[in-house]
């Protein structure tokens, strides 16, 4: 049981860490893109066409690639009030219920974002300057939300099984 849990934990850690590492690279790129934009505009007098849109796309990718990693490493702010009132199993069950509710919400967001993506795809919406299509970005966000929903379900299971909410990083 413990062995399979450890294996599952490692698999999930990999599943959320790999996208986070990719997102780190994009974040790094975003910094250079911003500096490059300033240099091109201020120093060389030749602004990068669609620079703002490239930054927006980078930001979206960074956020949704990091979303599940943030959830898996306890990166979300929660108010610690019930911890002083409820203890043991009751506390863990309450926390797992809120985790499942959160997972339900994220799954719904994922579904709706995917649906909006198909609508946007039909209309052929793109960014004005760079002509980057919006559709894949919606699918990307949907995938990020779905992965986070999965992480939240695992977190709920961990709580019910009496394991720490977040695995040791």
């Amino acid at each position: 049981m413990t062995k399979s849990l450890v294996r599952l934990e490692n698999i999930i850690t990999g599943m959320v860490r790999v996208p986070a590492i990719v997102a780190s690279g994009i974040l790094f790129l975003l910094m250079f893109l911003t500096v490059g934009g300033v240099v091109m505009r201020r120093v060389l007098g030749s602004p990068i066409t669609g620079m703002q849109e490239y930054s927006e796309v980078c930001q979206l990718v960074v956020i949704f690639l990091f979303l599940a990693y943030s959830g898996w490493t306890g990166g979300q702010i929660a108010v610690e009030l019930i911890g002083s009132v409820l203890k043991g199993l009751t506390y863990r069950i309450v926390c797992s219920i809120t985790s499942i509710a959160s997972a339900g919400l994220m799954a719904t967001i994922s579904w709706q974002t995917f649906r909006q993506g198909t609508e946007v795809g039909k209309l052929g919406v793109t960014f004005n300057m760079s002509q980057i299509p919006h559709e894949p970005l919606y699918y990307f966000a949907a995938a990020g939300c779905a992965l986070y929903a999965f992480v939240l379900i695992i977190t709920a299971s961990r709580l019910v099984l009496g394991l720490p909410e977040f695995p040791k990083q």
Binding site: A20, I21, A23, S24, L27, F28, L30, M31, F32, L33, T34, V35, G37, V38, R42, Q52, S55, E56, V57, C58, Q59, L60, V62, I63, F64, L65, F66, L67, Y69, S70, T73, G75, Q76, I77, A78, V79, E80, L81, I82, G83, V94, C95, I97, T98, A101, S102, L105, M106, T108, I109, Q112, T113, R115, Q116, H134, L137, Y138, A141, C145
Partner: protein, 434 residues
């Protein structure tokens, strides 16, 4: 059920979900979604869920968040905090309580590189607390000044709290950043005065250190020169209009990276950890912002903010009493809610009230951030206190809170001064754009 009742029930549901430990952003999103569905239409509620996350994630002004967080994290790993501390110590160390004053001054400088109070308290605490312990400082003063000094992180630009405030109120991020400078300096001076008063009453709290020669002072100050250069470039760039706040964040992060590389403080492994930490913090802020933007339409449908504004402005209470009550509410909320949570929960309701009373939104942003800072050091959940406790594990919580109290009072004095002289917050942004 009227929309207004639904609005009140929504607020109640939100507090229940928060109390049940649901992440703040997700709790707001859930209540916003269900509330919009019940009060408006389910089609609208589903459409909001499918579009708002994308809309928020692609807002160009918000690129400032990952870049400034990256800059702050780089400043933390590259040992800038120690240089700042040594430079401040060279100038203030020989005063009674001088090490504590140096901590406050270094916190203020570090705040100009980092937009997070927790990061400021943690970074400066690791450097300053062992030094103060070595010099025989009372733990009450040592821990109190680190916790309080850390709060300057979200007042002195860059500040994550200002970015969130700007997004929720549609104010300019650049103007808010510039507005935070003078109040930040004022609070720094007030904290230093507090230390002087404390050590004048009880000299044992913080004995004076050795006086350094002018040459030594200049040498140590020069060590912190690069950081000062980064701060002047970023904040000065925003003020002079050389670049936007977002561009300033990119430039600041780039310069911090260069500095860290020159000092050989960054290996690929450390850089990856810094980037992962940056991403984690960025997502935390974005989830809250997305939640707030899903919650706002629900409040608008229920007409709750308008109802509260009308009720309060028509009440016989003088404006000043009304504002004082709002301030007290923030202080009370700060005792059990996290700062960002207070910001996103209260702004949709409080901001219209303040603007309808004729208060300047930029000024209010500054005051609100100071009130949030007070929450960060208020019992029982003052996050900075736990950060300090993490570093000084042997100091009892009661002693840390006792040490914080005088600084907390200094913050009240700062708010009162800002009420009397609102120009302290509004002068710089006005000169910047007029």
């Amino acid at each position: 059920m009227t929309h207004l009742t639904l609005g009140f029930l929504g607020i109640l549901a939100l507090f229940i979900l928060l109390a049940l430990r649901m992440p703040v952003g997700l709790a707001m999103a859930l209540v916003g979604f269900l509330g919009t569905g019940l009060a408006g239409s389910w089609n609208a509620a589903y459409a909001n869920l499918g579009t708002e996350p994308i809309v928020i994630a692609t807002r160009f002004e918000l690129v400032i968040i990952p870049l400034f967080v990256f800059m702050g994290n780089l400043a933390t790993v590259s040992g800038m905090s120690r240089d700042l501390y040594q430079a401040a110590y060279a100038w203030f160390g020989h005063w009674r309580g001088g090490l504590a004053s140096a901590t406050i001054a270094a916190c203020a400088c570090f705040a100009a590189l980092s937009g997070s109070s927790v990061a400021s308290a943690l970074t400066m605490g690791r450097v300053a607390l062992p030094e103060m312990e070595k010099c025989g400082y009372h733990p009450r003063l040592a821990t109190g000044c680190v916790a309080a000094g850390g709060t300057l992180g979200i007042l002195i630009p860059p500040s994550t709290a200002f970015v969130i405030y700007a997004m929720l109120t549609e104010e300019s991020i650049g103007r808010l950043f510039i507005a935070g400078i003078l109040p930040g300096l004022l609070l720094t001076v007030l904290f230093m005065c507090t230390i002087s008063i404390m050590t004048a009453i009880s000299p044992d709290l913080g004995p004076p250190g050795e006086r350094m020669s002018m040459m030594e002072r200049i040498r140590l100050t020069r060590g912190a020169g690069a950081m000062v250069g980064i701060v002047i470039t970023t904040i000065g760039g925003i003020y002079t209009g050389l670049f936007t706040a977002t561009e300033a964040a990119g430039v600041g992060a780039f310069l911090s990276l260069l500095l860290a590389l020159v000092r050989r403080k960054v290996t690929p492994r450390i850089l990856l950890e810094v980037l992962l930490q940056t991403g984690r913090t960025t997502v935390m802020v974005f989830v809250i912002l997305i939640g707030a933007h899903l919650f706002s339409p629900f409040l608008a449908i229920t007409n709750l903010p308008a109802f509260l504004v009308e009720s309060l402005t028509k009440s016989s209470l003088p404006d000043l009493v009304l504002v004082a009550l709002i301030m007290v509410m923030f202080i009370v909320l700060g005792t059990f809610l996290e700062g960002f949570a207070i910001l996103v929960l209260s702004l949709p309701i409080v901001f219209p009230i303040m603007t309808s009373l004729g208060y300047n939104p930029i000024w209010f942003g500054v005051v609100m951030v100071i009130l949030l800072e007070m929450g960060m050091i208020s019992p029982p959940v003052g996050i900075n206190v736990f950060v300090v406790k993490g570093i000084a594990a042997d100091v009892p919580m009661s002693q840390i809170f006792a040490g914080i109290m005088p600084f907390w009072l200094a913050m009240i004095v700062c708010v009162v001064i800002l009420f009397m002289f609102p120009q302290i917050a509004t002068y710089l942004p006005n000169t910047m754009f007029n």
